[in-house]
């Protein structure tokens, strides 16, 4: 009996096109059936090994960077529907966000400033049609932020340097990311499931995924909340609490 080659085994495993004879052979051949099972097990191992390479993805500053690069240099041309007032505000937002983001270790904004973009031309064959000019939305020009993906349902947020009297708000969202916004000049650090900020004077906004298993918020060494959206323990100085959010006012120390 001639057994299936490894490429065919993988094609079967991955649902790629194979001939009917390969499928019928698999039904009768224990050796190839075993090889298929081994290939499935190997795929799980490889996925696990590759996941060691994954780090947090910082999307907020990246989005601002892409937006900035899409704007025609020096033309002042605005996407449709935008007046000069909005463009000025958006430009200010981008500059502030970029400046704040550039303070972050590993920030893509640093990369944008540091080195020229790759110049290799891309085969446009897969560009079948013309899309609309991307729209730009307004933003809060007084803050910078960070968004990280949540992989295992655990989010710990640490805020340092919050000014007495300032507000720290927590909002539940349906995203699978956690976001933190703070005044320009704040410094962010992050690792898997953890975001930290050394906040400049002003309010801090936090968005947490509603379906997170465990969240916690620590402000200058005090635990403000812990638990999950459904079973939340609020320990900090909250002045407003709803199903959607909790707002704290930082105490005098």
């Amino acid at each position: 009996m001639i057994h299936l080659d490894e490429g065919t085994i993988l094609s079967l495993r991955d649902g790629a096109a194979v001939g009917p004879s390969a499928r019928s052979h698999l039904i009768d051949c224990a050796t190839c059936g075993g090889a298929l099972e081994a290939a499935r097990a190997r795929a799980e191992r490889v996925e696990f090994m590759l996941s060691a390479l994954d780090g947090p993805v910082e999307a907020t500053a990246a989005k601002a960077g892409v937006r900035a690069r899409l704007r025609p240099a020096g033309s002042g041309a605005a996407p449709r529907g935008w007046g000069s007032q909005h463009m000025g505000r958006a430009a200010a937002l981008l500059l502030l966000t970029a400046a704040a983001a550039a303070a972050l270790p590993g920030s893509p904004v640093r990369s944008l400033w540091r080195s020229p973009a790759p110049q290799q031309a891309i085969d446009p064959q897969t560009a079948p049609a013309v899309a609309e000019t991307p729209s730009v939305t307004t933003g809060d020009a007084t803050s910078a932020g960070i968004t990280v993906a949540i992989s295992d349902g655990v989010v710990h947020v640490v805020v340092r340097g919050a000014a007495p009297g300032s507000e720290v708000s927590v909002q539940w969202t349906d995203q699978r990311t956690a976001s933190l916004t703070a005044p320009p000049g704040s410094r962010f650090t992050y690792s898997s499931g953890r975001i930290e900020v050394d906040a400049s004077r002003g309010s801090v906004g936090i968005e947490l995924p509603r379906d997170a298993r465990v969240v916690s918020l620590e402000v200058d060494g005090d635990l403000y909340l812990t638990g999950s959206a459904d079973a939340l323990e609020v320990l900090g100085p909250a002045f407003e609490r709803t199903d959607e959010s909790v707002r704290f006012r930082v105490d005098e120390r």
Binding site: G7, T8, A17, A62, L112, T126
Partner: protein, 164 residues
Amino acid sequence: MDFDTLFDQHYPELARYCQRLTGDRDVAEDIAQESMVRLFAHRITGSEAGMRAWLFKTATHLVRDRYRVDKNRVRLLAENPVRPSEPESPHLRLERAEARDRARAALDALPRRDREILLMRYAGFSYREIADAIDVADTSIGTLLARAERRFAQVVTEADRQAI
């Protein structure tokens, strides 16, 4: 589909793919952003799957181009050391770093084409989409992927064994 929706839909996954491919978060994010810029600048549109494939193909080509000058990578790493989060325990941090180093070394041991095939497959692309991005016949993908998986797993496993 507007800018925000498209960006939010594709950027995180694309950046993660680039991280795996390059082993350098700054370079990865730079390339993922460049790919997004080109998507909008070239006004690419089509099905969701088509745009996703276009982005990954573009990023793959950009990475190839970028690493023709490998010194750049060393410089970027030197200029932008990743600042680890303090509260993670030293033991856990060490374990994660070792696992990452082993996976990185195993990936770097693969020929470029095998590495691209492996990472595109594990980003969820079909053999046909991979073949289009890498410029090989789709009938060859199974064989090439089998070789890449086997080699990758073997190198990581051997490194694990040596570490014990």
